[in-house]
Subunit: 334 residues, 2 copies
DNA sequence: CTGAAAGCGCTTACAG
DNA sequence: CTGAAAGCGCTTACAG
């Protein structure tokens, strides 16, 4: 197991300069056929592979994109990460990943250390001065923050919440409950506003329980719901996890879903259609979201070429979310 | 928005050499207090941040670890990824992530381009010559391959499968079915062997359906099970997803779980205890697995210091997996 | 304690 | 088509 070959070793073996080796590898046409041949043989003989770190330093780019998400253990991100990595890999880019809640100093460094040249940001709660201080092409995906000076991509959460309200109303529900995400989360706030807006238009009576997207919070909300004197018959949870927790707890308390209460979620996670009952929800095309974000970012990176962040379209780019009707919602009881 | 400062700018402003700036930043004690003071002021004034790419090239390391998994969209990896990233971040390391099925050429490059100095490998099906050709500290996590010249970490899948067989037997089941993972997967093979071994010891009658860990495969297995003349009363699925698919399909076909059939899974994913019925399963401590792998790898990286892969303990390090009894298994019917 | 100089491993004008 | 040389932005023996 000998030390790995450097470009100089290849050059020596082939009897040419390192410049020629470099050219033979990166733009074969710029080199004579015979020379190219000899270089390639030397490459094979030495087992040479380029040192990307050195090339990147010289070219002042990293060929890498950084993904930042508020909680990597959240399975919602899995498909998004996979799609981003897939597109990046096709484009010859590497993917770096980090929890975005690693502390201000570390976070600043990540976007500033020369090891990434584009960022996919899935967190709308980072300090705007940090985000805007990164002089790197950046795209906001899913979550967003109007203070960030960067384009954004995602579903139209307000419109999606309208679908939810419309669905419950169509089934005859007159009093509905929203189990929301946390107050400081832009998705939660937007979904809630959208739901209440549409429910109001439709003349429904509304209530809101604040939760935090998790299974446990959903279960807790179910207990609060059960304790109510007049229980809403339709429930819209801000996430599928929350809805599954809600339903699970309802069933444990002896209620039937959707017989006693209709419950719907948001996201359409993989298990949604295998849950019992199968979950009515809003489908978020996460694979498409990730791929679109990566593609857009790569475009920006090509446009930027070290010129920092470039022209930002004011309007968010929306990806379609759709209502998926399954078995957890039904006609109002009685 | 001016160009970012380099170390030379700081040096000029502080009236010292770049060497001194470098020292003031990396080992403040090796520099006079007054000098240090002036340097720090210049750093603040210029907004200087080190260019990690340049430092890494000079120091011939990447301060980065690479995670390779066969399918990033698999939610099983979420917590592992989060834990690895957490430990890495604490150690000042960056995390690179890639699907391990990106093609031989790209894969070879990833471990060979100087941008990572350690690898967490979650795939036992890569070509051994590729894996062994990376001259980088590497640890196998969860999946493994005896042909890889690297230590491994994970639960004892054979012992875990014993627990499953023991559990079903203790409930009185005499004929049991295993819905396995794919034949070419080391986890699947090991779990199946362990289950059959223990079931044999306990005098149970056994059968196996080969599947592939997914929800759909579980549902398909349920249909095959239902079509059987003599239906096994206890079913052990090689993954929770598979078990959820199996149960879901059983219920859709009109069977009761666990009234008509006991079904258990493997992994203990987040939804397992909120599923209806709550899933009996084998708990894999994924967070602990990820953290342990990262810690171990970092140790190896410190020991290695460019010396390539070092001493490999033959025996795998096992992390405890435990049986979690919930509601999807019960006494044998009748 | 501090600086000048070499060098990490590449690429790329510039000449020829 | 090819090479010598400079340089990407750092760090680190080596001297003093």
């Amino acid at each position: 197991m000998t030390a790995r070959a450097r470009i100089k070793d290849v050059a020596t073996l082939a009897g040419v300069s390192t410049a020629t080796v470099s050219r033979a590898l990166s733009s074969p046409d710029s080199v004579g056929p015979a020379t190219r041949e000899r270089v390639m043989e030397a490459v094979k003989a030495t087992g040479y592979r380029i040192n990307a770190a050195a090339r990147d330093l010289r070219q002042r780019r990293a060929r890498s994109i950084l993904m930042l998400a508020p909680n990597l253990s959240n399975t919602f991100f899995s498909q998004i990460i996979a799609a981003v990595q897939d597109v990046a890999s096709e484009a010859g880019l590497t993917v770096q990943i980090s929890d975005s809640r690693i502390g201000r100093e570390r976070l600043v460094s990540l976007g500033y250390d020369g090891r990434a040249d584009g960022i996919v940001l899935l967190d709308g709660n980072l300090a705007p001065d940090v985000v805007n201080g990164w002089h790197l092409p950046l795209i906001q995906l899913s979550e967003w923050n109007d203070a960030y000076n960067a384009p954004r991509l995602g579903i139209d959460n307000r419109a999606a919440a309208h679908l939810a309200a419309g669905h419950l109303a169509a089934l005859g529900h007159r009093t509905v409950l929203h189990v929301s995400g946390p107050e400081d989360n832009v998705l939660a706030v937007t979904r809630r506003a959208g739901f209440l807006e549409k429910a109001g238009d439709l003349g429904l009576e509304t209530g809101v329980f604040e939760a935090d997207f998790t299974l446990e919070a959903g279960a807790e909300a179910a207990r609060r719901w059960a304790a109510l004197d007049a229980r809403p018959t339709g429930v819209f949870c801000a996430s599928d996890e929350c809805a599954l927790g809600f339903i699970s707890e309802c069933v444990h308390m002896g209620f039937d879903v959707p017989g006693d209460v209709s419950v719907m979620g948001f996201d359409d996670i993989d298990f949604a259609d295998r849950f019992l009952p199968a979950l009515t929800t809003i489908h978020q095309p996460r694979k498409r979201m990730g791929a679109a974000a990566a593609e857009r970012l790569i475009e920006m990176m090509q446009g930027a070429q070290g010129k920092g962040r470039h022209s930002i379209s004011a309007a968010p780019t929306h990806i379609d979310a759709t209502l998926v009707e399954r078995d957890s919602t039904g006609p109002v009881p009685g």
